[in-house]
Amino acid sequence: MALITCRGLTLGYEGTVLVENLHFSIGAGDYLCIVGENGSGKSTLIRTLLHLQEPMKGEVIEGDGLRRNEIGYLPQQTLIQRDFPASVREIVLSGCQGRMGFRPFYGPQEKELAARSMEQLGIADLRRRCYRELSGGQQQRVLLARALCATRKVLLLDEPISGLDPKAAMDMYELIAALNRDEKITIIMVSHDMTSIRYATHILHVGDEWFYGTREEYLQSPAGIYFAGVHAEETAAAESSAEEQEGGEEE
């Protein structure tokens, strides 16, 4: 039995259909990368997987002992968060909220869990710092630690490297890969960056023609070849501009 199974999903909003009849399933320990152009329905798919939105057709079924709200979520940064006065510890602890029920205050168990998550992501020494004063990479680690407090089964990451510099982006990818490898945490990652699929076991390409399969199958498929080609050009362009910048700094 898979952790999450999507059957005949049709996604869209206000009568506009973005993706039709989507079938796929995610097993325990998988690393699924969801790729596709902007506006192809990736965000809608995420909201549907999280049950924040109902699909137009079809259903999302949790299995294998996974409950509905046991998906740890790393959302994209919102405007509100950018100038939010909160300490790192306060934010990470808020990830435990789902397991609190009606208890008003965090107990030793939650504090321990938060401390462990911060330790694991290397942000323990930032615990008293203010969130809005951290670098983009550090902020993402804080939100990831919060997601780890919510669950240790599945993580859903929405464009986790957007806005990060190349070094911080690579660190983030390594960190996510390590969580998948060492902690056996199932990863669902949304990205429009092809580098991200290096670590994935499965790929879901969302668009008019959707594709689901292992990474090897994807790289052989027409969608995969096209997407990889576009990406190669983008990377080449990005690298040459990065080199120019470095050259500028040396002078």
Binding site: I80, P85, A86, S94, F105, A150, T151
Partner: protein, 279 residues
């Protein structure tokens, strides 16, 4: 007679003591919720709801209801819930909805008061419900008790749900996705805000309520960097400003509401300066 003796004399009157108790409690309640509202970009909901409360007062006056609260409180709570729902509707944006309801209630309220007025001093009545009045100095014991009870409930709810309010304020989607019912807590926040606004009408009047909600929170955010410290600082600042404002207004015979707000503004400027100097 020096200032202390004058104050001592005033404090011996029960109505001055009532005013201080009510003022401090309302300032405390509004500042607690203020932090959340400012961060959620809901600063204007206070403004909108206070005008609704003004309209509701007008309706209560026209209907000649003996206890105005019975009309004003439910109507304001209802509008708070409506505003929140509209905020999620994409057809009418949240801020536009608040602006519409706000000026609409203000206009209809004034119109009703004009058409059905039985009072000889209409503009005086309107002015006092817009800017607050000496009515805080004419509180009866019953009103004080009602205010104390409601304030205690608001503070208790806030403390009890503090961590949930933080989670929902910081990140609604995450909270909803991981099993916190964000919609329910948003509704709760709206209802509490409505209650605070109705309470605060007596103190500063409906035009100045937003100041009580926004200023302490903004001042505290200049100084502190964690949610807990901002909340506590905002509460302390708000209570101090309310105390100084009420005592000042008695000493200098100025309007209570605007004096409190003036003190709040001064506090904000000081906090802003401290932040600037530090940076």
């Amino acid at each position: 007679m020096n200032i202390l003796e004058t104050l001592g004399m005033y404090l011996s009157y029960p109505f001055v003591r009532y005013a201080l108790i009510v003022g401090v409690l309302i300032a405390l309640c509004s500042s607690l919720l203020g932090v959340t509202l400012v961060l959620k970009r809901f600063s204007f909901i206070g403004d909108g709801l206070s005008h609704v409360a003004f309209g509701a007062f007008a309706i209560a006056a026209v209907l000649e209801v003996s206890n105005e609260m019975l009309v004003v409180l439910p109507l304001t709570v209802l509008c708070a819930v409506l505003l929140l729902r509209m905020g999620q509707n994409t057809k009418i944006r949240g801020d536009a909805a608040i602006a519409m309801l706000s000026v609409g209630a203000l206009a209809i309220g004034y119109l009703l008061m004009n058409i059905f007025s039985t009072s000889s001093n209409l503009s005086g009545d309107v002015c006092s419900s817009l800017f607050g009045s000496t009515s805080i100095l004419t509180l009866t014991l019953g009103e004080v008790i009602l205010c104390v009870v409601l304030s205690v409930i608001v503070i208790a709810v806030f403390v009890f749900f503090y961590h949930k309010i933080f989670a929902v304020t910081f990140d609604e989607s995450f909270a909803q996705a991981t099993g916190t019912d964000a919609k329910k807590y948003n509704l709760m926040i709206a209802v509490i805000v409505a209650v605070i606004i109705v309470l605060a009408m007596n103190l500063v009047g409906s035009l100045l309520i937003s100041a009580l909600i926004i200023f302490p929170a903004l001042s505290a955010m200049r100084l502190f960097r964690s949610f807990l410290s901002v909340t506590i600082c905002s509460a302390i600042l708000s209570v101090c400003c309310a105390l100084i404002g009420i005592l000042g207004s008695i000493l200098w015979a100025t309007p209570v509401g605007s004096t409190i707000v003036a003190v709040d503004i001064a506090a904000f400027l000081i906090c802003w300066l401290i932040d600037r100097v530090r940076a």
